[in-house]
């Protein structure tokens, strides 16, 4: 058998391959040769073959059949074999391999070898990829080597110990004695690795941390020597002595000084010294300054030092090197909360970074800018941010728009400015605005009553030329529907009023309806807006009627339903139309935590028209539950307002207090009274905010309230012994068909002597095959102890079509109401 070809020869040959296929062929041929050579247990050329295998592995080819060969090489006496064997082990024999543990014995022997370079190989392998078991077995050997006087081995043992601790944290204690003298070393390698070891121990154990605090003076001394000492060619990097060690010491000081006044004080001077004396012309000096700044900001440093740190970051921002600018922005972002004023001083530099060419720098500058916006600088900052929104990459636009909305909401100097800003965002980045910002904006607009005419005029002009940006069109449609009368009357005070006719307004709304660019939701907005105009416009009512009737046969089910209902409004309930389509009341708002919060209102944000008799109490935000008035036939029924499923997953239990909190308890900025709620106050008294009673009356049988077409609804009951007029019904809706039921809405109505409250359902989708249920809680107040009866209405989507059903529930067990 001829000698296997040499490694370099193989590499040269493979590189001559012109195609991937050719390369693969060469590799396969060589692999076959190597395999047979392995089978023959050839000791002489094993090393060469494994080396070749490792090369092919790097090219991406499988090399697992070489694993055992690596083990044999490691066990060999020849240094060359061991070198390649250990390299192979590190590349092919990680802890996930079965044969990994077979290395343990070899490594153990080699850790005690007479040649330090062999010991070094063993330490390196163990320290790079030893498994937990291996670490456990060999930790003792490592600990021994940590105490040796041979600095070559000591430094490697230190890092090996770090790896052992990372893999088996319980073994940390064992290395404690050996750390005693580590910092007394002169050898930089040992010093560096010792600092790494100490850092690892302090990060993992608070006890170790307090134990090692006493090292602070020594660390400070070492650092001082590094800075003050003269030129040391061995460790010099661009005039700075051992920057790697300096940075590591600074990092350890950071950990030791955190939350500790004494330690922080002990390092104050050296930090100031490093901060002021370090040469900043090259990257290496800035690396040290960066670490210094991080340390200063993290420990309990005095304010002068903190200001010094922020100023360093400010100088970084002006540096030509983009890496340094990047690092500065990242750090400023971390400190802006705690040292807000200091960072404010660098605001203009930060804002300039918005124009940087690097995407990551731009993103950080944007985040930082938002963090720095306040009441004083809002106008100037907004100008810059709007300009940024205009010119930035698409991936930023959504976040930037959200940020602008939030900032505007918090610090708007005037309503007009606020609306102008919103308009600007909608027109520049209208298609990137998050969908849930639309209700927010609408609510904002309704709140600024004096600006209605101005707003609708601007929105009209904005979509005149281009109605492709959905959020913009939605807001504009809504406003035109609501304030169309102001638009055509030319009442605007804030700017030159436009001359618009009713026909022109309808033209644009109809274009939106027809356009292919309009999303289904947008069309809904447009249709409703057109309908509302029927009471605000005088000459074009016939045109509106025509449009509405056309959409009565639209393929889009949502549009169809709306059109049909609006049609009914024209035909059967024309006398109610003006009342129903009156101006929307001001919507109440929960304080938003962020621009993505949905406005919680009692019902939907846009009016859904009723096809029923008007509810007895005047203006209410409309809701579909009032349909039930018709169903239950007569005036002896109280309407119920169910809460619409919120965007957040609601718990099935009753958050009664939360619910009422949403609905009205905060004072609104406008003077319009909040929408009325039909629940009388004493429902609150009787019930705690916990979903279930603590003193639950014993087992009331549950009933199946409804079962049809695969949809089953079960009622379970709970009553309180202390408050017997309240019954809590938990409904569970399940679906035995093979397709999910979506957009499920449950509504209920009870006779007048009862009071009923429906809480948020757990979701609006019932999964198929009974794999899950929707739960919802109903609270019934029955002071007169009358027999409970209930009418329910169910709507959902199933198999692509909208389903609806009504039913009466009469089989309530006597225990639930007596």
């Amino acid at each position: 058998m001829p000698a296997p070809i040499r490694l370099r020869e193989l590499i040269r040959t493979i590189r001559t391959a012109r195609t991937q296929a050719e390369e693969r062929e060469m590799i396969q041929k060589e692999c076959a040769a190597i395999r047979s050579s392995f089978r023959e247990e050839d000791n002489t050329y094993r090393c060469r073959n494994v080396a070749k295998l490792l090369y092919m592995h790097m090219l991406g080819y499988p090399a697992h059949f070489g694993q055992l060969e690596c083990l044999k090489l490691i066990a060999s006496q020849k240094f060359t074999d061991k070198r390649i064997g250990y390299l192979g082990a590190m590349l092919l024999l990680d802890e996930r391999q079965d044969v990994h543990l077979l290395m343990t014995n070899c490594i153990k022997n080699d850790l005690n070898h007479s040649t330090q370079y062999v010991q070094g190989l063993a330490l390196c392998t163990l320290g790079c990829m030893g498994s937990s078991e291996m670490c456990r077995d060999l930790a003792g050997e490592v600990e021994k080597l940590l105490k040796t006087s041979n600095s070559y081995l000591r430094k490697k043992a230190a890092l090996c110990a770090v790896h052992v601790i990372r893999k088996v944290p319980e073994l940390m204690e064992m290395f404690l004695p050996a750390t005693k003298n580590l910092l007394n070393e002169k050898n930089h390698g040992v010093l560096h690795t010792s600092v790494v070891l100490l850092t690892e121990m302090c990060e993992r154990s608070p006890d170790m941390l307090s134990h090692f605090r006493k090292l602070v003076p020594q660390l400070v001394r070492i650092l001082k020597n590094l800075i003050m000492s003269g030129y040391s060619p061995e460790h010099d990097v661009s005039g700075i002595s051992d920057p790697f060690l300096q940075v590591r010491i600074l990092r350890l000081l950071r950990i030791l000084g955190r939350n500790d006044d004494d330690s922080s004080e002990a390092m104050n001077d050296i930090l100031a010294q490093v901060a002021t004396n370090t040469e900043t012309s090259k990257n290496v000096g800035n690396a040290i300054l960066y670490e210094t700044v991080l340390t200063i900001m993290d420990i309990k440093s005095e304010s002068g030092l903190r200001v010094l740190a922020i100023n360093i970051l400010g100088r970084f921002l002006l540096n030509n090197d983009k890496n340094i600018r990047y690092v500065a922005l990242t750090s400023l972002l971390k400190t802006v909360q705690t040292d807000h004023n200091a960072v404010q001083r660098h605001r203009s530099t930060i804002v300039d970074c918005l124009k940087d060419l690097d995407v990551s720098i731009k993103r950080r500058a944007m985040e930082l800018s938002f963090a720095l916006v306040n009441g004083n600088n809002i106008r100037g900052m907004m100008k810059e941010l709007l300009y940024f929104l205009d010119s930035c990459e698409p991936e930023f636009k959504a976040d930037c728009a959200s940020g602008i909305f939030l900032a505007a909401e918090k610090y708007a100097p005037s309503k007009r400015w606020h609306i102008d800003t919103i308009m600007r965002v909608l027109t520049t980045a209208g298609s990137y605005v998050r969908d849930d910002a639309v209700p927010n904006l609408i609510q904002l607009i309704t709140n600024s009553m004096e600006m209605h005419a101005y707003t609708v005029q601007r929105l009209y002009k904005a979509i005149l030329g281009d109605y492709s940006q959905q959020p913009l069109v939605q807001v504009a449609s809504w406003c035109m529907g609501e304030y169309g009368d102001l638009l055509i009357s030319g009442q605007c005070e804030e700017e030159e009023p436009v001359q618009v006719t009713e026909e022109e307004v309808l033209d644009i709304l109809e274009s939106v309806l027809i356009s292919n660019m309009s999303a289904s939701v947008t069309r809904g907005y447009a249709l409703t807006a057109i309908m509302k105009l029927s009471t605000r416009f005088t000459c074009t009512v016939n045109r509106i009627k025509k449009v509405v009737s056309i959409y009565g046969s639209s393929i889009d089910v949502e549009l169809q339903q709306r059109a049909v209902e609006y049609n009914a409004l024209f035909k059967k309930y024309d006398h109610m139309r003006s009342a129903l389509l009156e101006r929307m009341p001001v919507m109440e708002k929960v304080t938003t935590n962020g621009p993505t919060e949905i406005v919680q209102t009692n019902g939907e944000t846009e009016p859904a028209v009723l096809e029923t008799k008007p509810p007895p109490s005047g203006l209410q935000p409309t809701s579909q539950a009032n349909d039930l008035l018709d169903l239950l036939g007569g005036n002896d029924i109280t309407p119920v307002i169910p809460t619409a499923p919120t965007s957040k997953p609601a718990s099935a239990g009753g958050e009664l207090l939360d619910l009422l909190g949403d609905l009205n308890l905060t004072a609104s900025p406008a003077s319009v009274p909040a929408p009325q709620i039909s629940q009388p106050p004493f429902l609150l008294d009787g019930l705690s905010s916990q979903p279930l009673f603590n003193d639950i009356a014993a087992g009331i049988p549950s009933i199946t309230a409804y079962s049809k077409n695969g949809l089953k609804i079960e009622f379970t009951f709970e009553r309180s012994n202390t408050n017997p007029s309240v019954t809590v019904i938990t409904i569970q809706a399940s679906n035995s068909t093979e397709l999910d039921m979506t957009d499920f809405v449950f509504q209920a109505a009870v006779p007048k002597t009862f009071q009923l409250q429906l809480l948020s359902p757990s979701s609006s989708t019932i999964p198929a095959f009974n794999t899950g249920t929707i739960t919802q809680v109903i609270k019934v107040l029955n002071p007169q102890k009358q027999q409970l009866r209930m009418r329910i209405k169910l709507t959902y989507n199933h198999k692509g079509s909208a389903m609806q059903d009504l039913a009466e529930v009469n089989n309530f067990p006597p225990q639930s109401w007596q």
């Binding site: 330490l123 790079c128 070559y152 983009k322």
Partner: protein
């Protein structure tokens, strides 16, 4: 710590890979592909740092080779650039005016040098002289063995 180091050419060919964490081979290949793509797509105007998953990638190009380190969140990016530079200097000192071909044909030496500089993702030696001396002494040990065995190793 440094989680892994990748060296690759401008065409995306891997020249060296050192992993300080345990991952299945398939996962490593996937990560390598992804990162090579990200780094090669970056322009000159961009910084040397990329936020990738929960790690920071620090890369620098030397002639036709990209050196890329993945570090953890608390590590100093600017210093990592110095670490990369130091490694290149060590290679240069060893090979004398190192170029990509040296690393291709002597990849095992590149690994040996790296293993004298970094271990377990942390720096073990900050002196250029000491690191190179260790390699040269080891080489000497190897050659001595070869002479003794009277056979070329590989």
């Amino acid at each position: 710590m440094i989680r892994f180091i990748l060296l690759f050419s401008r065409q995306g060919k891997l020249r060296l890979q050192k992993w300080y964490i345990t991952l299945p081979d398939r996962e490593r290949k996937k990560i390598t592909r992804e990162i090579v793509q990200i780094v090669l797509a970056r322009s000159q105007k961009m910084s040397s740092f990329v936020n990738w998953k929960d790690l920071k990638l620090v890369y620098k190009r030397y002639a036709s080779l990209y050196f890329c380190c993945a570090i953890e969140d608390q590590d100093n990016e600017l210093l990592t650039l110095e670490v990369v530079h130091r490694y290149v200097e060590l290679l240069d000192r060893y090979f004398g005016n190192v170029c990509e071909l040296d690393i291709i044909f002597n990849f095992e030496k590149a690994y040996f040098i790296l293993d004298e500089f970094i271990m377990g993702g942390e720096i073990q030696e900050t002196s250029k002289k000491s690191a190179v001396k260790a390699i040269e002494d080891s080489d000497m040990l190897q050659e001595t063995m070869e002479e003794y065995m009277n056979k070329p190793a590989f």
